[in-house]
Subunit: 680 residues, 2 copies
């Protein structure tokens, strides 16, 4: 998907006496390639004896080109043979033989693609021939199935022609669409956004003339074409030049003008350029340590950290009344401090709020902790910041927190195990402590995307340690692009923090009933915090200040009665979820899976969201999740789609299972986490 700076546009050749001249002519007018028949005009379909006379393209100049030229300048067009569906065997065999000849000739010439026109839903025989062609030989020819947007001759929905064709050919990755614009636009235009449109055929007859006599498209056509250009579609102009004065050049100029208009990208689109529909395994920051470069990318987000600053600011104002701001010090613990952005934002928030804070930067990645320690002695030397190199779930905190700040969310909210991590922090929270974020909810929406389905088919079996099906039982982080959302996202799983409920299911904690925040504030008021000035004058890295997780792991024989030190996740069943949801599907379509998003309340109405309706503008830290289905499920207009999602855990790992139960059941995906789990 190399980005272009001008429209890629071809010219459909109905008939020419001289192929070379046609190409030169179209090139002079700005066109990049031509679409032409590979068989001479007027040839009868089944001239085995005269193969040489028949094949060879539209003119005798065909053989002037070298492979490179053929591959870049000419797209073939397959002749149309209505006899392919004839019940008269001889006629059918004759047509099949002719199709074979043309296909093999296209492969011989190494054309990049051949356009196969479909004129009705009765397309199984041509689909079979194309499918066979794709499996025979070693060529790499792409198939562009030409379908009109709107059927002129019948009331049939042409999407069904295409859907049948590609399903018969099992969504083959070399099959794409050549969608022909029609003067009438059907109502369900967006549906095509999920299809692998390679080119948009625009007949000159669809153009209107503007006041100056130049060809333009109607506003609706313009918008549709621009949307498709964003999907990297090429254009093919077809039909006679209806603008004799200026020639076909002006069509190209107009189309390039549209193309330039479609290049107006927002921040998010710019950031994600090149990542479109590219599958990524979700991060497992709990099991794996992130690299500095990964932190660096996330830190560039222009929105996320501003929101965190705002949340800390608002929270501190609420927690410490103005009257107490000189006496009280809020204890803030940043859980998963990484390279320090949340520490920085917390300090900024505190400064704005004019509240005193004592800050602990807890980070399990020991490499990142080294960097944090360096920041303590430089950027944060005037603040009370303690770096703790420990997993928050096992850290023996020296005091209780007023505020814990974390950024542990995955694209689906809970999928990087934020709930489990923050549960582990319950032990060192004051009873009225606030967690930033306070809550998050995953959202899910049914999606049609030939492209994503195919991308996953493409990675099937690549991981030899897993079954081939595992590819369809994995969640992917992906900048979903060539897709169609069937309904708006609906809420899936919600988690609230701090989750005191968990303590009623797991062994009960005692401290928050009988120990007030003040007691703990007092108890730790004399805590011996290293003198930062000493550090500076000494000019040494004060490694002792990094509390080593090795020496702070919980010793169960010395259980502290007041600071609960037992991690509270013996079963983790309180973090399991089960949700059914159903929705009505507004049109015939094909379901390939689900888009996954989150919406998160950092503090009260300070939110961050990647759920499309409420997406925080310009925030690019998270691409959506794609949850695939093993087999695409056909859905008909008005049917009820019902889906079940589970979040499961066995205390050692967390995984999701999912299935469709209506209008027809799918299998349950990822049973027992056999293909994909997230390690605790």
């Amino acid at each position: 998907m190399a980005s272009r700076n001008r429209v890629s546009c071809g010219l459909d050749i109905e008939f020419t006496e001289d192929l070379e001249e046609s190409i030169e002519n179209s090139s002079r007018n700005g066109y990049d390639f031509i679409c032409a028949n590979v068989v001479r005009q007027g040839c009868t379909p089944f001239e085995t004896a005269n193969l040489c006379n028949k094949l060879g393209g539209v003119t005798d100049t065909s053989f002037l080109f070298n492979s490179q030229e053929w591959a870049s300048l000419v797209v073939g067009k397959l002749s149309y043979f209505p006899d392919l569906t004839s019940v008269v065997t001889e006629k059918r065999i004759c047509a099949e033989e002719a199709v074979k000849q043309e296909l093999h000739f296209v492969a011989f010439l190494s054309l990049p693609a051949i356009i196969v026109e479909i004129k009705s839903k009765n397309c199984s025989n041509i689909a079979r021939m194309i499918n066979t062609f794709l499996y025979e030989g070693h060529h790499n020819v792409h198939i562009w199935v030409k379908v009109p947007l709107h059927s002129r001759n019948c009331e049939e929905d042409t999407w069904h022609w295409w859907n049948k064709f590609r399903t018969l050919c099992s969504h083959h990755s070399r099959i794409g669409l050549a969608l022909e614009l029609t003067a009438d636009l059907p109502s369900q235009l967006e549906r095509w956004q999920g299809e692998p449109i390679r080119v948009v055929y625009i007949p000159t007859s669809v153009f209107l003339m503007n006041q100056k006599g130049f060809p333009v498209l109607s506003r609706a056509h313009q918008q549709f074409v621009k949307n498709l250009m964003k999907l990297n579609c090429q254009i093919v102009l077809s039909g006679p030049n209806l603008n004799n004065a200026e020639g076909i050049l002006v069509y190209h100029q107009y189309l390039d003008h549209l193309f330039q208009g479609a290049q107006n990208l927002g921040e998010y689109e710019k950031f994600s350029k090149g990542y479109e529909d590219h599958l990524q395994a979700p991060l497992q920051p709990l099991m794996d340590n992130l690299e500095s470069s990964t932190y660096e990318i996330f830190e560039r987000d222009p929105i996320k950290y501003k929101k965190y600053e705002e949340a800390v600011y608002r929270c501190l104002l609420d927690q410490i009344p103005d009257s107490a701001k000189e006496q009280q010090t809020a204890v803030i613990m940043v859980l998963g401090a990484g390279r320090g952005p949340l520490v920085r934002m917390s300090l900024r928030g505190a400064k704005r709020a004019q509240r005193k804070v004592r800050l602990y930067a807890v980070e399990k990645n020991r490499n990142a902790a080294v960097l944090l320690q360096h920041l303590c002695t430089t950027e944060w030397k005037d603040y009370d910041v303690t770096v703790v190199s420990s997993d928050m779930r096992f850290w023996k905190a020296p005091e209780l927190a007023d505020i814990v700040v974390s950024e542990l969310l995955g694209s689906l909210g809970d999928n990087e195990l934020s709930p489990e991590c923050l549960d582990g922090a319950n032990r060192f929270l004051k009873p009225d402590a606030v967690s930033i974020p306070q809550s998050y909810t995953s959202y899910i929406s049914p999606i049609s995307s030939h492209k994503l389905y195919n991308e996953i088919k493409g990675v099937m079996g690549l991981d030899k340690n897993k079954t081939p099906e595992a590819a369809f039982e994995t969640l992917y982080v992906v900048r979903i692009h060539n897709y169609h959302e069937l309904t708006e996202p609906v809420p899936l799983f919600t988690f609230n923090h701090p989750n005191w409920d968990l303590d009623s299911q797991n062994p009960k904690p005692e401290f928050h009933a009988d120990v007030s925040a003040e007691v703990w504030d007092k108890k730790f008021s004399k805590k011996d915090v290293k003198d930062k000035e000493d550090m500076e004058t000494n000019g040494k890295t004060e490694v002792n200040q990094i509390q080593d997780s090795q020496h702070n792991h919980i010793d169960p024989t010395k259980a502290n009665n007041q600071i609960k030190s037992t991690p509270t996740m013996p079963t983790n069943s309180h973090n399991t979820r089960y949700q059914q949801f159903s929705c009505t599907i507004p049109f015939d379509t094909m379901l390939h899976g689900f888009g996954g998003y989150f919406r998160c309340a950092l503090y009260k109405d300070v939110e961050i969201s990647i759920e499309p309706k409420t997406h925080s503008p310009g925030m690019f830290s998270w691409f959506p999740i794609f949850v695939p289905l093993m087999n695409p499920i056909p859905l008909t207009e008005g049917c009820t789609l019902q889906t079940d999602f589970w979040r499961c855990s066995n205390g050692k790992k967390v995984w999701y299972e999912w299935c469709v139960t209506s209008p027809q059941a799918s299998q349950i995906h990822n049973p027992n986490g056999r293909s994909y789990t997230i390690g605790l």
Copy 2:
């Protein structure tokens, strides 16, 4: 599927104080096993703390058994937890925990199976738990999903409950049905015949009392139960003893009586006992040489060869009028003579018809030809029989035939390449020659069979030379047994012989236009046939009489203008076929594939058939073909099922492709013969 000589029947235990006593009691009354809960009565579902008090089966005697006893005497019953679908998270988690405990306890005890009752279509959560259970640990517990034949509380079709459950669990092979008989029988009883029913639950309340006061089933119930017994179902009697006088013994006696009645098998059933639903790769007799033992089995068929004798007899009577029977000698060529049964039948037919024949036994399997030669000198010493060791397609015949007799049919008729073989024989036919068989037609019917689908899943990936999907793109010969035919078979492809048409498509033959049979008769009348008496007196094996195919291969440089010696299959396109067929489905069901059969006219109305409606009684040489579908397709009552079948050829091999195009499209199976071909 070891065959039993008495019914296998268990007893459902509602409640017992003493498990050991219950088992002994049921055994005394003839029952083989009991079905009992694994959890004490009255236990609340979530007593983690009291696991020991809760588990352990219905009584304290549970632990008296050893593993062998547990595995053979007791089937577990899972408690029913309506809370599994509760929207109150705590209730749901509680129920899930209880289910897990019971399942794990069953696995711990090595029970053979556990019965899981479904009471509504809302079964996705229990399905997920069962599915997870099947993928965790190393146990081998089977799941018997208990579903009533007819729902008492609602109008729902209980088949849908089952269908949803097994689809969610991807047709897992360890999931079977415990189908509960109800007093009311639904109309679509046959539909259950395609399901993996392990046990039939029969409540005592379903029994009627006969005049002598003994429990019996209604005639309709009897028939249904007998049909299921033929599928090797076990029985479980449930409910209170309603026949106090005699005890539960009499139920068992009655059920065994039904069982004995179900053992009345026809010849075909007897022959195929043990082969039910067992997948076999179709023979490739053209590519491979059959073994003597394979011929031997086929020769045992009590029907097929009688039909051939009759066909030859009738054909000779038609070909040679009574008046000419002394002067004329019919030339019969047996093509693919094997170990000689068709030679034998031809000679018998000729004897009955009192016609003179000269017979060529053509056989490409040189090993079989040795045996044929031996028969020439013994059994057939008084007849004019010449053994030819050659492939009929390349044999240079010394004269032209009046009759060719062959048995080259596969289960689907043409699938062992009879059309191609007999095309190759065209060269040595008189213009009015008759082929026995004269024609054959394949038949196909849509089939629902959980069992066959699972058998194929079971062989997926076993052939490491092929992709896993190849298993679903292969045709299987199989004694289809646990299945349900959705509609009657319809004709698919027809082949007629001799096929003179082929010569108009391939290079034209000339001889049959200008050479009459008489000319050729005369021409070869002086042919030097070996004197059989010489052979006998010499007492030697006359190896020269076996025309060696090595020396009879066609020499294209010496093309005989009159006896066409060029094999007529340069493209073989005349033997390709394409057929769409559609039918209306009378009820909701699941399509797993197609049954394939043939019907063959040997001569005029002398037929052999394995098409169910017209099956030649007692003929067992062919089991049906099963044509699988990669993904089961749900069909709803009244929908139109449309299917496309192709017979393809590239001149080197033949293969089939197939797909469903309505109500929803499947992929095209076996594109370009990638998974399964038949070599020419």
